[in-house]
Symmetry: C2
């Protein structure tokens, strides 16, 4: 007698998470050191030392009821203001605390934005391959996720399929840059192209099509590549951020939503984000970590660790005949599975204790994702397993 809707959703429940549980199971059998778990984006690079000292400072210096207490649903005003000023400094914007709503990670930020924007029957577009939970978030708003395509190979957005996907019901487009699962960074010309298209279509339909920019990997980029900040290109943007990756704090669920003071109905949006935070049970983003991140605004994990990992894995896979766009950010590699059936491929890989996620999980069959946010040493030890896998399938 439990929910039919939820039971149905169980059936299609996250393959990534199942693989995570499977990894734990295999680790118990073979030992954690012999399981090459490339399945989940759980950062292995240490949080900056400042996180630890900041926590201790706060505990020693601030009032405990303040640090662990309730505040406005959208967060401590001073924390929101500090983040606004940090964004202003980094991106030349003009935000105040009113334009920042603290959120329970990027996941919490996304759903709060969708609750603010969506009515039943609305449509939200994203590009495949895409992060699986988007579908659950949109479903939870009784709205419809519509898929546009990326160019296979480069995995840059295909604007022709975007244009074709837009209907009078389109309320928003989700962009994830740097991208999970491909590791690709969308450059300025693409971002401008998307902004121009949505501006044109918004005028054509007489209502705004919003951009929801899912930015948790913003700082995880290599080779000094520039990631355009969406708020500088399109006013009707919600920029959703999380400190999960930049500070290696994914379990703490701390992030925010930023929007432009020039957005239509700015004041109502501020209220709606706050209201949504309460209405779906978050109440507020965790309080101690709100105060911690303000002391860590200039901190980032050592991104070079991920770059070394990428080089090691990417070069080895290419030498084995795998085809993949070179990841420019995040810590994912998205390659063609050596056989057409990506689920079967992932099953075969498991024989070699390689845990991967099939591309179909991201709406892109025929590929797989490998998360290389594990130790360099372990990637090195996995190379023989990759070779064996390729040898079996390249016969």
């Amino acid at each position: 007698m439990i929910s039919k809707k939820m039971k149905a959703s169980l059936a299609s429940s996250s393959v990534i998470r199942e693989m995570f549980e499977e990894g734990n199971r295999l680790a118990e059998i073979y030992g954690a050191e012999n399981v090459f778990d490339f399945s989940i984006g759980n950062p292995n690079v240490k949080p900056p030392e400042r996180v630890k000292t900041a926590i201790k400072e706060i505990l020693d210096e601030e009032d405990a009821n303040f640090v662990h207490g309730y505040m406005s649903n959208s967060g401590y005003p001073d924390v929101r203001e500090a983040i606004a000023q940090d964004l202003n400094k980094k991106h030349g914007l003009n935000l105040s605390f009113k334009n920042i709503a603290m959120s329970v990670g990027a996941g919490g930020g996304l759903i709060v934005v969708f609750k603010t924007l969506l009515d039943p029957g609305d449509e939200v577009i994203t590009f495949a391959p895409y992060f699986g939970p988007y579908r659950a978030y949109i479903d939870d708003c009784q709205s419809k996720l519509v898929i546009a395509e990326s160019h296979k190979g480069t995995f840059e957005p295909d604007l022709a399929t975007l244009e074709a996907a837009i209907t009078p019901k389109t309320k928003a487009l989700i962009i994830n840059n740097p991208n999970n699962p491909t590791g690709v960074v969308y450059k300025e010309d693409i971002i401008k192209g998307i902004a121009d298209l949505l501006t044109k279509k918004s005028e054509e339909y007489g209502h705004t099509i919003y951009i929801v920019s899912d930015d948790p990997y913003r700082e995880i980029v290599y080779d000094d590549i520039e990631v355009p900040y969406m708020l500088n290109y399109y006013t009707s943007t919600f920029a959703v951020y999380s400190y999960s990756k930049s500070l290696s704090l994914p379990g703490e669920r701390i992030g925010y939503v930023a929007f432009s003071p020039e957005i239509e109905e700015a004041e109502e949006i501020e209220q709606c984000l706050s209201n949504a935070t309460r209405n779906i049970g978050f109440t507020n983003a965790p309080s101690l970590f709100q105060r911690v991140i303000v002391k860590c605004l200039d901190e980032t994990v050592e991104v070079d660790v991920y770059k070394r990992n990428r080089d090691l894995l990417y070069n080895h896979l290419l030498s084995l005949g795998f085809e993949s766009a070179k990841p420019e950010g995040a810590f994912y590699l998205f390659a063609k599975s050596l056989i057409e059936d990506d689920k079967e491929f992932v099953k075969i890989a498991k024989k070699y204790n390689l845990l991967l996620v099939p591309g179909s999980t991201f709406g892109c069959p025929g590929y797989f994702r490998a998360s290389y946010c594990i130790s360099y040493d372990k990637i090195e030890r996995s190379l023989a397993a990759w070779t064996k896998l390729a040898n079996e399938l390249n016969k």
Copy 2:
């Protein structure tokens, strides 16, 4: 062009929270010491010292990527197991980690349970007066909140109105014990009466009617009063807990859902709670605080502080002619407003810098709620304001 649904919800948005914001505004004008903010349940009693030492121990002794990292959506298995064992010890139960899902506070726990149970059109009953956000949580599941009544005066549940409210669509009953906003504790005979009635009705309709027991005030009780633990009385119970009040950590959003191993479809329920945690963007309960509470399972804030507050406020209000059930737990007092219109009453009280919440917010007009989780000293200083208010209205 933002959501019509959300805009409509804004209109009826939380009066408690508005009062909280209003309190901040008045504090800036008159000074915080001169504003008597009885509006919100933000505990003023310090968290136990063990919370602070536990955090420091964890930071110094455990691996930072483990402490701040992802885990299963339902939480760290060792944390869940420790909580299960603690409940077994305290309540003579037989739970394991499988019966515990860590949640983002009680709010997060409630919505995860509702997503697990409810399909569109289902009905959930609660007794008025009731905690306002229940309505938002049920709405978010496209289900309907149905109100049964409490006996005015004692504010104990009225089982006749409960029986009349049950229909074939009833999926669950929410019980909040000790109760917010009345401070009343439901004794064993009432709990047994509710359990018997729901057992009978479940049989009659051929499907289970669940109890969702919202228990964040379980430890905040006075005079050695016993709070029956619902899992001991009704198998189809979800016991939703938060450490917000017992450890004074409301901002940290840490709690859990417990259910019996004998509940129907126990294994699917475990999966659904986990799935719901992911699907609505929580991902997991904050990781550091999961590890902290395991070290604080035997800790509670000094409940006597609240008892002293209750005695001071309750006795003064009774001496002024207010009518109220004597609060036996939580930190709320629910009294008849001196005039029929409770919203007007609250407005008049504000003239004396007394911030209260009208009973109509809890589905019970003609009353008001005063949260006495503020300093004894401030309550003492507020007494003159209460006297002036009573003098004005008792004329």
